[in-house]
Symmetry: C2
Subunit: 410 residues, 2 copies
């Protein structure tokens, strides 16, 4: 079998936009990322062979950014001119990923420790590897024809999605599906199919930089929880410092990328806090927000009320929905918010991993920054990350009182 | 694109069993075979490019039986020891197919004239070629993904068939699907899948000699209308001679192959005549009959009554159903005749050409033998072959009074 990760560009675009900020601002901050498996009733160690996982992870550590990779990044001007600084590209040129820590105990314990600027990249490679190894294990138990049927079913399902979406030309989508894809080649198949079968006014681009480069697509991305989480370890003097770290993260982001990448991830400490925390000026400056947990309709209504409170026309602002999307959910959200606020969809697992085999839910999260445990609360407490005592402390700091909770399918 | 016919063994097994009889008995009888397209509303000339058709037909004329082909035929002992005589294999070794006559007028006019022993082989190659060129033309109009979906749909449908049939383990099937297959490679895919996914007690074998050879399957076959039709041109002195030619064909067949291949095709002049014509001794000797037109349930009941009239236990006799079968029809016939008479299914177009694209119906038939027009009446007058005046004459000769008529899907 060929290696799963064959290029360091086979990752999400936002790893580079975040990676550059971290490189510029927090070069020596030590961090720890940890793998979490959220699907009940499955022990990954029953499916994934330690030797094979190590081979794939070791292979990533042999990879480096080649000259063409750096040309592509240097040439990125879709969000602002020369958004990647030359010193960051020089850093990428010599980057090797730090070592990982892996134990097969109580499932699969996988961690990455090191300086934030070089450790940040592991997340997506590790998730893509574990996902593909898991589905390879399922395929191995099948007959040749059963394997063929999996791909046949995947194509039939992909076509149904395309046909429905083409029927509503105002719906726009982007691929956010790298990390929990069925397989690298299947993501490539699905994304090139969308590019061929849908108008470019509907299929906007992909978060996967390698696919964007190979197929001339727009590289897409916002930012991730790890920015807020990492910052809470850096601004950790007291509760107020931690509370301030959220808005400091947003200001830092805006300082580096301005309007071009001004989509704020709204749920790290719950969207109620987010909207209390965002100033009138930020509300005016930023293009919009990304919804990644909780009830998306409730979030959309909350967002519209937020902008109206500041006398901002919601129709000039954007919500990027990205939480567990499937076509019926996208259609429902489109019908609900069409002509009220701009919306677009960052489509994940259901795009790159819908071939009839049950999805699995897993993340790699920044759990420690600058020596301190980090916390993500989100709008669905089932998705919370952090030590229990830290979660309770952060709930108080951010006046988190939501009780919304629903199991994660992906 | 690769050539459609790559081996002269890529044909039905019965072409060789019939071919040997014709070689031994009718070496110098001139015959003419003609292509008939039966699907209304489609002009093949709108889909098939003359140059490409000629290239494929010309390519068949460059092929010869190689040493391994002849070894395989010489080694055939499934029906009787050394059933292929050495002089016939010597004839095959030097055989080149005679030229064809092709005109693109009123659709596609394709004929084959020559001595029966060398002309007999064209039928299946020509049909396979025309069928695959037609479906290639449909595929060419599609996008890459639409083409993929055709094969995905074909796999999903094939799986549904397999699952239903495996649920009724007493149903036995054989592949009779070469001539109207979607494509050579698709037939190969479908047949190898049946071989892998179904028990050998259910999937008995294939009429395609190349597939049988390549995959160690049982080569299957009975005999075709052309035997009766050709014989009517040889025994053509008067109406009584023509009438006698039917039973003479059966006696000739039995002389060469005995019990091993004693499945009689029952509908050339209608099954009513067939059962009047078959003697008690033949009814006892022959394994059974093949149903290829008309109402299969009515045919089965007629067959059971026939054997009972001769005090033969129908449960010791076999019906091979081979007319336009699909899974629901097979299940219905199984439910109707199970434990009353042995049945098995020779499965054609719906096995090798069910990918969501509409089937087409076409034949290559022996229309002239020894200078005389030939006739096939069948149990469905829509399938009749012959000049109108010959059909009327043969109806009288064989006391044909059936009015059953239904359009041919395949």
């Amino acid at each position: 079998m060929e290696h799963i990760i064959q290029s360091l560009l086979d990752t999400d675009f936002y790893k580079f936009t975040m990676g550059q900020v971290v490189f510029k601002e927090f070069r020596n901050v030590p961090v720890r990322y940890a793998f979490h498996f959220r699907t009940k009733g499955i022990n990954l160690a029953d499916f994934i062979i330690e030797r094979e996982l190590r081979q794939e992870l070791d292979h990533v550590m042999t990879l480096n950014f080649n000259n063409s990779d750096l040309h592509y990044l240097r040439g990125t001007n879709e969000y602002s001119e020369r958004m990647f600084y030359e010193d960051y590209l020089d850093f990428l040129r010599i980057l090797r990923l730090p070592d990982y820590s892996l134990k097969f105990e109580n499932g699969l314990q996988l961690e990455f420790k090191g300086p934030w600027p070089s450790t940040i990249y592991w997340e997506t490679y590790a998730l893509s590897i574990i996902s593909e190894l898991y589905y390879r294990a399922l395929l191995k138990k099948m007959s040749r024809f059963e394997r063929d049927l999996v791909f046949a079913e995947g194509k039939i399902r992909l076509n149904k999605k395309i046909q429905i979406l083409k029927g509503i030309p105002d719906i726009t989508i982007s691929d956010f599906a790298t990390r929990r894809r069925f397989a690298r080649r299947w993501q490539e198949y699905a994304i090139t199919t969308l590019a061929e079968e849908m108008p470019s006014s509907q299929f906007l681009g992909t978060s996967n930089v390698k696919l964007a480069m190979d197929y001339g697509l727009l590289p897409m991305g916002t930012s991730a929880h790890e920015m807020y989480m990492g910052m809470s370890g850096i601004m950790h003097a007291d509760n107020e410092d931690i509370r301030q770290s959220h808005n400091a993260t947003m200001r830092l982001w805006y300082k580096h990328y301005g309007h071009g990448l001004s989509i704020a991830l709204a749920d790290n400490y719950g969207s109620d806090f987010f909207f209390r925390d965002m100033s009138q000026k930020q509300a005016e400056q930023w293009k919009g927000v990304r919804q990644d947990s909780g009830d998306p309709v409730a979030f959309g209504e909350k967002t519209i009320r937020f902008y109206e409170r500041y006398n901002i026309n919601p129709r000039e602002k954007l919500i990027v929905f990205s939480d567990g999307l499937d076509v019926p959910t996208m259609v429902k959200l489109y019908n609900t918010f069409h002509n009220r606020i701009q919306i677009t969809f960052g489509w994940g697992t259901n795009l790159s991993n819908d071939l009839g085999l049950a999805p699995i839910s897993m993340v790699v999260k920044l759990v420690e920054s600058n020596g301190h445990g980090t916390v993500k609360l989100s709008d669905n407490i089932a998705k919370a990350i952090g030590k229990p005592e830290d979660i309770e402390r952060f709930k108080r700091i951010f006046s988190y009182d939501s009780t919304y909770e629903t199991a994660c399918t992906y």
